[in-house]
């Protein structure tokens, strides 16, 4: 096993990997940008290496700085987490050159799956269904129009270098295609330096169901069952569960075998996720499913699989990277109960999910039976403007889906965050929705059921208004000035008093 491992990431996933390191007896080293100096990950690590400015391009996206940090701190391995450089083969190659073990698949696997058009044909060749569409790039509008007529509208126009919901556009008829075609190519060129686009049949109300796979370097490859991630907003997952309420044992086996076939097609090692769209609206049973893409890294939502299978995926990742064999075979995998994850963001769910950066002035986290909170913050932490404003991933496990939901609602009630708005009220609304309780999910669930509108703002404001008055009354009596804006900063020093030193040391 490695002695030291560099965590080339931030926030909750850096904390998650620190914990896996601790359980393995590996010394965790984190990198941090200027904005993350006071983060929980820095506090929990054995060593913290600064890598410069606050923007991602100055820090977490710089391959050179990450490799320099690994070498400077004497780390033998590097875990990329998710996002940033996690699916960038140039980091893998740089690790190889520097003699640092990359905790993840090979550069070749990442590259094959990074090109969406190439991965489609690889997967189709492996006998796994892909969404009906073109096998090759469509270079001209005429070609696109002809293919679209063959496939049948609506179609999805996709950038081959895109993924994760980026670089795609819905087209419902030939009129729309005319304007969309050049626009999508132009955007693809701008975003990915590659204007290649292709066409896929658009599924109206699909379910997003994905399968976790795990492979070692000794030829062992297993799947850990599925997760359903249909609760999305603008293609960003918000709530995930394991198992899917739609999937029975037979479909689980089919999905699992398809996922393994995909992974085998690219000689996959380490943890990966094969995403499928399931056409639940189709009358066919078992419902048809189609390969969407493969994520060649640990997913944000991996804890729901951990809760149900009892495995530690981050730990398995590091073990695999160290050359060890998988700690279990396919037959050893068992699923117990159900787990749900809510992504708690510093976003105002009552106001169109506007980001709500600022200082966390109070934090009280839920606990008790079935609850796990993978947090990246602590009281006094200031959520930076620069990154994804994820506060924590709240996970509830129960004997069945109903108990997991009950426990999640209890945990959301216990979870107290002051100083920033969060998505907690939004999840209350989702978890209380009849259709959600019935398991009737699809990727447009949030829009279709009006869960994005401003209705989350509380309505009976009588007591809150009284409470606000009492607050100002007591603040006035305690001597601060409620006449002026009682700015957030004024209270800040109670929590992180270090900035005070400035004035102590003199010029």
């Amino acid at each position: 096993m490695f002695k030291k491992l560099l965590i080339a990431n931030r926030g909750e996933i850096a904390v998650r990997i620190i914990r896996a390191c601790r359980d393995l007896g590996v010394s965790p080293v984190v990198v941090y940008s200027e904005a993350d100096r006071y983060s929980l990950a820095v506090q929990l690590a054995d060593q913290a290496h600064p890598i410069g400015g606050s923007t991602a391009s100055e820090s977490y996206l710089s391959v050179d700085k990450i490799i320099d940090a690994a070498l400077a701190t004497g780390c033998e391995a590097l875990h990329p987490g998710y996002g940033f450089l996690a699916e960038d083969e140039s980091l893998v190659n740089a690790c190889t050159d520097a003699g640092v073990v990359f905790v993840g698949p090979s550069a070749a696997s990442i590259e094959s799956m990074g090109d969406k058009l190439r991965s489609r044909s690889l997967v189709a060749a492996a006998g796994v269904p892909v969404v009906p569409g073109t096998e090759n790039p469509v270079a001209t509008l005429e070609e696109a129009a002809e293919s679209s007529r063959e496939i049948g509208y609506p179609i999805m126009l996709k950038a081959s270098a895109g993924g994760g919901g980026k670089g795609m556009r819905l087209v419902r008829n030939e009129d729309q295609l005319r304007s969309a075609f050049q626009m999508t190519r132009g955007e693809a060129k701008a975003a990915f330096s590659d204007s290649t686009v292709y066409l896929e049949k658009y599924l109206e109300r699909p379910r997003h169901i994905e399968v976790q796979v795990l492979g070692d370097r000794h030829g062992n490859l297993i799947h850990l069952g599925e997760r359903e991630c249909s609760i999305q907003r603008r293609h960003q997952k918000l709530l995930e569960e394991c198992p899917s309420p739609f999937v029975g044992p037979e479909m689980r086996r089919d999905l699992g075998e398809a996922a393994l076939a995909v992974a085998r097609a690219v000689d996959y090692t380490n943890a990966g996720t094969v995403e499928f769209l399931v056409d639940a609206a189709s009358s066919a049973r078992p419902a048809p499913f189609y390969f969407l893409e493969m994520n060649t890294r640990l997913q944000v939502e991996h804890p729901v699989t951990e809760m149900v299978t009892g495995l530690d995926l981050a730990r398995e990742q590091i073990r695999i990277a160290a050359g060890e064999k998988l700690s279990l075979s396919q037959d050893d995998v068992t699923w117990r109960g159900a787990a749900i994850e809510c992504r708690i963001y510093a976003e105002d769910s009552a106001n169109n999910f506007y980001p709500s950066p600022g200082g966390i002035t109070l934090l009280s986290e839920p606990s008790g039976p079935g609850i796990r909170n993978d947090s990246g913050v602590c009281e006094g932490y200031e959520i930076p403007l620069e990154y994804d404003p994820l506060i924590s991933k709240l996970v509830a496990h129960g004997r069945d889906r109903a108990e997991a939901i009950q426990r999640m609602r209890r945990a959301l009630d216990e979870y107290k965050v002051a100083g920033v708005r969060t998505t907690i009220p939004f999840f209350h609304a989702v978890l209380g929705h009849e259709r959600f309780l019935g398991g009737d999910l699809h990727t447009h669930f949030i829009d279709e059921h009006g869960l994005l509108s401003g209705t989350l703002q509380g309505s009976d404001g009588r007591l809150p208004r009284m409470m606000a008055a009492l607050y100002h009354y007591l603040e006035a009596r305690e001597g601060s000035s409620p006449d002026s804006t009682p700015g957030r900063r004024s209270r800040w020093k109670d929590y992180n008093r270090f900035p005070n030193l400035d004035s102590l040391e003199g010029p």
Binding site: Y354, P355, R421, G458, G461, A468, P482
Partner: protein
């Protein structure tokens, strides 16, 4: 102590009276002109968190200031309360009367000023962009609600703003 709270577009009065060390009577004027009264017994206050007994129930509130507003979280909802001491409300009404005819634009959320498009003294058309503010991954252009002249600008490129900060005033 008397306060003035906004309820929709009306202002209503709120009165707080101490009944003892930890018990307070709060009287709230309703929009229909009637008033309601509650006795709030503070069981515990720990920073932004208040545990209060109301009508034999224990209620948990989070309260913190955010710009001009007071944010109250109660049960499963978030409330933005616009409340000021009555005296301060009267003072502000006067000053806003003085500024009548001017449009004052304030930041709706915290962010970083990416680009300032107009300077004081410049003329603007209604709908023309004044400033671009970025928060995390989203850029947001603030547009002028009227045609006129920039009389005040409270932002600078590269700086940050908090919710409620003055951005522009157009006369």
């Amino acid at each position: 102590m008397r306060f003035s709270a906004l309820d929709g577009d009306q202002t209503v009065e709120v009165d707080v009276t101490a009944e003892g060390r930890e018990t307070f009577t709060v009287t709230l004027e309703e929009r229909n002109g009637e008033s309601s009264r509650e006795t709030l017994k503070v069981l515990r206050r720990s920073g932004n968190r208040w545990t209060v007994e109301v009508e034999n129930r224990v209620e948990d509130f989070l309260v913190w200031p955010e710009g001009d507003r007071t944010v109250v979280q109660w049960r499963r909802s978030t409330f933005e309360v616009d409340i000021l001491p009555l005296r301060e409300r009267l003072r502000r009404q006067t000053s806003s009367r003085e500024a009548a005819g001017a449009a004052v634009l304030k930041a709706q959320m915290p962010g970083r000023v990416v680009s300032v498009l107009k300077a004081p003294g410049e003329t603007v058309e209604s709908g023309e962009g004044l400033v671009i503010i970025e928060s995390m991954k989203m850029q947001n252009e603030v547009k002028s609600p009227k045609s006129g002249t920039v009389s005040r600008c409270g932002v600078a490129e590269g700086g940050t703003v908090n919710a409620g900060d003055l951005l522009f005033e157009i006369e």
